[in-house]
Amino acid sequence: MTQPASPARPVTEKSPPPDGAAGPWRALAARADLRTLSLLGVLAALAVIGGVTQPDAFLDTDNLQLILTQASVIGVVTVGMTFVIISGGIDLSVGAIVALASVWATTVATQEYGFAGILFTAVVVGLGCGLVNGLLIAYGGMVPFIATLAMLASGRGLALEITDGKTQMVTVDGVLRLGERDAYVLGVPPLVLVFAAVTVVGWLLLNRTTFGRRSVAVGGNAEAARLAGIDVRRQRLYLYLLSGLCCGIAAFLLVVLSGSGQNTNGNLYELDAIAAAIIGGTLLSGGRGTITGAVLGVLIFTTITNIFALNNLETAVQQIAKGAIIVAAVLVQRRASTT
């Protein structure tokens, strides 16, 4: 900080007082915990339902690994989406970016560069799309809904253009092997480890860094943030870059998981990611949200899908159940916040 010698003498830091966590703060923490606990409760209830309806299949290690693996791809996307929503924005293009990054990373030309080429391409394509989104929104003054809707359309189109509608099989051994059982670390698939790492980094970024604070400030009150001296536009650019980066990582995970790249990848991810963030307690209007809640939201949705699949129920019923959960979660949170 280069600030001129101040006659007002900036307040000097003192050692934190012993009563750092006083009553109201504890109450606040308790309420945040209540939300997390209720999400955990829903997850536990789902586990019971799964265990009762399909005692053998559901609790099988393979099945649990499958749930976590499936949650990984959408989970990584959701972490980025949560940041964007906290900042008062929205990113409708995440599914399209995942599709574009996955097919670009699996073209014959890219695969010539092996593992690193695929990973690098997926990440760079994700970042590139995020950059375009961010520039349009932060500096072009476009509404996030419109800019990312345009990216959704163009991204899907470009993905179709690249693949010509065909599935691009992965031939790089290193990539394929990551999805196999041999690569599991202590029974945990590498994809899940990536998901866990992204979650931890996301949590730290939101709660322990100036980046997180600025994101929350921009979402909570962009005008106040601007007048407080925060570079709101640059922050918005960074946030869409972050979302794009997450999509790139997710695309790589999807390539590993499916052993291929398809232009239909990531279909409706935007809706799943938004829904997971919302039931996790993120305000769609911005200014408040948690990574923990969003990740629990992802796990809840993935578990429901799994239980419905195991019980051979139609996807139609599954969609209805998801919709009902979103409504219920938001109603519960509204009640909790008004009382």
Partner: protein, 565 residues
């Protein structure tokens, strides 16, 4: 007025908002066919009163008699049905609809109950506009394409599309040019000739002289004068009614004016700063330890000046220097880095993160001080925020609580603590006591003076004249974007400043040399109005006589009622 029963008789109206008693037993009696002026300083309760009348607020107590019957309009629609129409300052028109659609919004001419008859609406609208003297406005045009004056006419047409007997106009002339004001007055004259009553709110005393029949003066939520004759009551009496206070303000001692040694170099220098249509080129110097006040009405350019100095608005001309180094224009970040801090007028909308704790609100502008490579040291952050809030005696003494739970005064302290923590050197305060209850004001004044004594330079904007006079060392009086007077605060008093900001007579400075004062007496065709945008900081137009001191004989203006049609 003939002793017939009044059209409207509001009696003992009370209305409280959390922490504020906005109306405390107000009476308002309006006769059919009169222009009744409502006067009062900002915050006196004018807006609340007309919102009660318009059905937008429900009174806590008191009665409203309308044409001799008790009524209680529960909604704006109910008031409309009674024949009471309100034209607010911010016009409530739908920009993307046509003139005719706006005029008949909500009561479209229909056939068979639901088929809209656009032709009939357009014809009726054309008739109304002709009656208002604006036949040139095409009923088919989009309202968004019209000028502010034309939009106002559309608003009036909408009021007249109902069977209206009383029209409330809230500062209708604020956005109008002089000849448009003349037309407005002509329309008002026509309406009253038809027996329609007009409640007219304006800050401009000369307008009230021209068209008003009677005046009701509000002060601190009370009617201190009901139904005074508008043309005969001396200006001095009206100003005294507006200013005589029930609330005592307690201001801290000023630092001794003549400290030993040379005065310190100015920390902030503003030169020729201007924005088109907002304020004329402004020069200003601010020294450490000094509080400079900008006095003026809403719309006089005060907030715009502050925000432009702060870089939140891009100036059309001029520059701002801190310690002699020019600031990048239009950049808040540059201003903050150079040591400026703003406590904006709309605290909740412009300053606070309402979902966050006090700590985070205080630290938001100094985050880089508690972080290394973006990583926050939350212990240091908490400790620093606590030290800053303690220094300002913010209550409760626990910066972990959400900022929204604080009172208005303590929320303001949180904003000040933000800049204190940042080590800011020039503090820009825009209406610092808005929404702060009376008891907490004195404390806030002491805080601001204390910061100045520490060496901060403070630029203070307030529409409360006593606040500016009591707190500032030096005062710049603004009127319609121009500095009309500069003086040491102890050389001014409240009636004098009010005269200056209202433009009700005496010219600023010595006789207003070089000003645009020539408009001269009343009753002229162009209307006695302010400098009207043409430069000149001397005269404030409409200078009748050269009344010297505030206690001088009143300048009774003789105006011929409504101008000839």
């Amino acid at each position: 007025m003939a002793p017939e029963p009044p059209l409207l008789r509001m009696s003992g109206i009370t209305k409280s908002f959390p922490g504020v008693r906005a109306l405390d037993g107000v009476d308002l009696h309006v006769q059919a066919g009169e222009v009744h002026c409502l006067l009062g300083q900002n915050g006196a309760g004018k807006s609340t009163l007309i919102k009660v009348l318009a059905g937008a607020h429900q009174p806590d107590g008191g009665t409203i008699a309308w044409r001799g019957e008790h009524v209680a309009p529960r909604s704006p629609i109910a008031a409309m049905r009674l024949g009471i129409a309100t034209i607010y300052q911010e016009l409530d028109l739908v920009e993307h609809l046509s003139v005719a659609e706006n005029v008949f919004l909500g009561h479209e001419p229909t056939a068979a109950g639901f088929v809209v008859r656009p032709g009939r609406a357009r014809a009726a609208t054309a008739a109304l506009l002709t009656r208002l003297g604006h036949a040139e406005i095409d009923p088919g045009r989009l309202v968004g394409d019209l000028s502010a004056a034309q939009q106002q006419i559309v608003s009036m047409a909408r009021a007249l599309s109902h069977d209206v007997r009383l029209i409330v106009m809230d500062e209708p002339s604020a956005a109008l040019d002089p000849d448009e004001v003349d037309n407005l007055f002509r329309v008002i004259g026509d309406l009253t000739a038809e027996g329609v009553a007009v409640v007219y709110i304006s800050h401009r005393l000369e307008e009230i002289r021209r068209i008003g029949d009677r005046v009701t003066v509000l002060k601190d939520g009370r009617a201190v004068a009901v139904g005074l004759p508008a043309k005969q009551t001396p200006t001095r009496e009206i100003v005294a009614l507006m200013t005589g206070r029930t609330v005592e303000y307690v201001f801290p001692e000023r630092a001794p004016a003549d400290r030993p040694g040379a005065p310190p170099e100015p920390v902030l220098t503003v030169h020729g700063l201007a924005r088109h249509g907002e304020f004329a080129p402004l020069d200003l110097e601010l020294r450490p330890g000094e509080i400079v006040g900008l006095a003026g009405l809403v719309g006089s350019g005060r907030s715009e000046i502050l925000e432009t100095v702060y870089g939140a608005r891009r100036p059309a001309a001029g520059h701002v220097r801190v310690d002699g180094r020019p600031l990048r224009p239009g950049s808040v970040r540059a201003a903050v880095r150079a040591g400026l801090g703003l406590a904006p007028e709309e605290r909740k909308a412009q300053a606070l993160l309402m979902l966050e704790s006090v700590t985070r609100n205080v630290s938001v502008s100094s985050m880089s001080r508690f972080s290394r490579g973006g990583w926050l040291d939350r212990g240091a952050e908490r400790a620093a925020a606590r030290a800053a809030t303690r220094e300002l005696s913010l209550r409760p003494d626990n910066p972990s609580v959400p900022v929204r739970t604080l009172s208005g005064g303590n929320q303001q302290k949180a904003v000040l603590a933000r800049w204190l923590l940042r080590g800011c050197r020039v503090l820009l305060l825009d209406e610092p006591t808005r929404g702060v209850d009376v008891g907490a004001r004195a404390e806030l004044y002491a805080v601001v003076r204390g910061l100045a004594d520490q060496g901060l330079a403070v630029l203070l904007v307030s529409s409360e004249v006593p606040e500016v006079l009591g707190l500032a060392d030096r005062v710049l009086v603004l009127r319609e974007g121009h500095v009309v007077h500069t003086a040491r605060a102890d050389e001014l008093d409240e009636p004098r400043v009010l005269d200056l900001v209202l433009g009700s007579g005496r010219a600023g400075g010595a006789g207003g040399a070089g000003g645009a004062g020539g408009a001269g007496g009343a009753g002229g065709s162009s209307g006695p109005r302010g400098p009207g945008g043409t430069g000149g900081t001397g005269g404030t137009g409409a200078n009748r006589g050269s009344g010297s001191t505030p206690g001088a004989p009143e300048d009774t203006v003789t105006t011929e009622g409504s101008p000839a049609p």
